[in-house]
């Protein structure tokens, strides 16, 4: 079976800066992967490239999802819309349409599955509306469905973005820091929703995260980026405090890291060598 996401030697340069530097990746259908890395390391750019919203440099290879081309050598594939329909996206900065209602913002997720004409004229049927409301309930903001999107609090907007991706019924979900603005309870709820959905329906899931504890708790596989390159790709059990210190900056500063790496180090941890991958 074709990979849920296959990225082949992809780079992205802004001026003189390499935001993504020769990255190759393969995510299997149903697989769940956490993407970590310092701010500015290229996580968002990689996700945008994977969904064909950003074009890679011309010297790059291609990106395919379930065998459908997204882009190749820096040119958008002709099938990209079909590919996108099976990729659910959660944007870091939400990308909601502030002047439309929360409900409409979520319903937009259903466009790919609807008849073209019906979608274009916004003639959503009751079924779709109910699915959208259910997704909103799932992330805990069903009572705000009728508000305009820009009237919501930060965390509520973030959850609208997640609900939109849920409604899409995608086979691969790429979520860019989906819990950044959420309180612990909502964050857990959202992560549970995403993981349950992935597990129950075999949906592949790539989530970029800053909270390393969530990454290790929810994901078996972790990909770490640094300055545009993938510096680690392996089971989360192999992540060590030393590696994290290295990942987030060479300085020897004491970091606030999740509990299992608690900083009064040298405790129970058995760091299986942290060799960075390719």
């Amino acid at each position: 079976m074709a990979a849920a996401l296959e990225i082949d030697r992809v780079s992205k340069t802004w001026g003189s800066m390499r935001a993504v530097d020769n990255v190759s990746l393969r995510i299997e259908p149903g697989e769940r992967v956490a993407l970590i890395g310092a701010s500015g390391s290229g996580k968002s750019t990689l996700i945008r490239i994977a969904s064909g919203l950003a074009l890679a440099d011309a010297a790059s290879g291609g990106v395919r999802s379930f065998g459908v081309g997204v882009q190749d050598k820096g040119r958008l594939s002709s099938e990209v819309r079909r590919a996108r329909r099976q990729i659910g996206l959660v944007f870091q900065q939400f990308a909601l349409v502030g002047r439309l209602s929360v409900m409409t913002n979520v319903l937009v997720g259903a466009l790919g599955r609807m008849g073209r004409l019906r979608g274009t004229f916004g003639l959503f049927n009751d079924d779709e509306k109910r699915t959208a409301l259910a997704a909103l309930a799932e992330v805990g903001i069903a009572q705000h469905a009728a508000k305009k999107a820009r009237e919501l609090s930060g965390g509520q907007q973030q959850r609208v973005a997640i609900a939109r991706a849920l409604v899409q019924g995608a086979r691969l979900v790429l979520a860019d820091e989906p819990i950044a603005s959420l309180d612990p309870k909502s964050a857990k709820r959202v992560m549970d929703t995403l993981v349950t959905m992935s597990r129950d329906h075999g949906i592949a899931l790539v989530v970029s995260l800053h909270q390393v504890d969530y990454a290790t708790a929810y994901f078996d596989r972790v990909i770490a980026m640094n300055a545009g390159r993938v510096v680690f790709d392996g089971p989360s059990s192999r992540i060590t405090a030393a590696f994290l210190t290295e990942l987030y900056g060479a300085s020897a500063e004491e970091l606030i890291l999740p509990s299992q790496f608690a900083v009064p180090a040298a405790e129970t941890l058995a760091p299986t060598s942290s060799e960075p991958v390719s």
Binding site: L53, R84, I87, F91, G98, R99, L111, R116, G119, T120
Partner: protein, 273 residues
């Protein structure tokens, strides 16, 4: 109160100086500035600008202006009817233009269509604007004869050129994020436009459409040719007859109409902002 400031100043020493604009950029900026000044000065003389004279004979303006402050509404029914006629023609002319201007406007915006499409459609719209209404009016007179319908058609073509331009430039100034949001779901190009672009530009589009409606109401050129009557022509006639009291009555009617349209525009836009 400059506590933080002092705090940072200590850190400053080791830092790179703030970025400096490169010489080439500076020079080219200087060149553009110099060129602008030269053009402006040249045009100053070409346009025979002479502000002193304006001040000197300001009294004349007052004398003439005063003749407009005694409106004479005797013929109000004539004005009212001409205004109705004008409104009817302007409504249809503008409506058709907006309906056609929306697709053309979108096709002119190079952030939603390929560059060559935008370029070609833009040039077509340039022609619609640049070719004088007189020409269109004559062409339509040839087909449908004198009368308001020819006026509607001439206004329609010209207004299409204007609104398509304005519509497209609003589209080019949008925030791309919501559009990407729709694109990410695999929506079609049209769906991106409907859900991502329209909600962002609607307030501006309404503003443009009503502005053009207003200026079609004000304009007299076309109606003067097709013989449709209309308030603009009645006004021109009063002016030509130096009937300033009657002219000012018409002006008051036009001002009220324009103000009402402006308030309607305000109101509709509020709902979409």
């Amino acid at each position: 109160m400059s506590a933080a400031e002092t705090a940072h100043r200590s850190v400053v020493a080791g830092l790179p100086a703030p970025p400096v604009t490169p010489l080439a950029t500076r020079l080219s900026r200087l060149l553009i500035a110099a060129l602008t000044v030269v053009v402006l000065v040249f045009c100053w003389y070409e346009a025979e600008m002479n502000p002193a004279q304006l001040v000197q004979d300001a009294g004349n303006m007052a004398t003439l202006g005063a003749e407009f402050v005694r409106p004479d509404f005797t013929d109000w029914d004539v004005y009212f009817n001409s205004m109705l006629e004008t409104l009817a023609i302007a409504i249809w002319g503008t409506l058709l233009a907006v309906v056609v201007g929306i697709p053309f406007g979108i096709l002119c915006a190079d952030n939603v269509v390929p560059r060559w499409v935008a370029f070609s459609v833009r040039r077509l719209m340039d022609c619609c604007r640049a070719i004088n209404e007189l020409v269109f009016a004559l062409i339509f007179i040839a087909a449908v004869g004198l009368g308001p319908f020819a006026g509607v058609l001439a206004l329609f073509v010209h207004t299409t050129g204007v609104v398509a331009k304005l519509f497209s430039e609003a589209v080019e100034a949008i925030d791309p994020a919501p559009v990407e949001g729709i694109r990410g779901t695999g929506g079609t190009w049209l769906q991106e436009v409907v859900y991502g672009v329209l909600p962002q530009v609607l307030p501006l589009w309404i503003s443009y459409a009503l502005y053009r409606f207003e200026s079609n109401v004000r304009s007299a050129t076309v109606l003067g040719i097709v013989g449709g009557g209309g308030i603009g022509m009645v006004f021109n006639e009063t002016m030509r007859g130096f009937l300033y009291s009657q002219a000012s009555a018409i002006l008051i009617i036009v001002i009220v109409t324009v103000s009402v349209l402006d308030m309607i525009s305000q109101n509709i836009r509020k709902r979409f902002i």
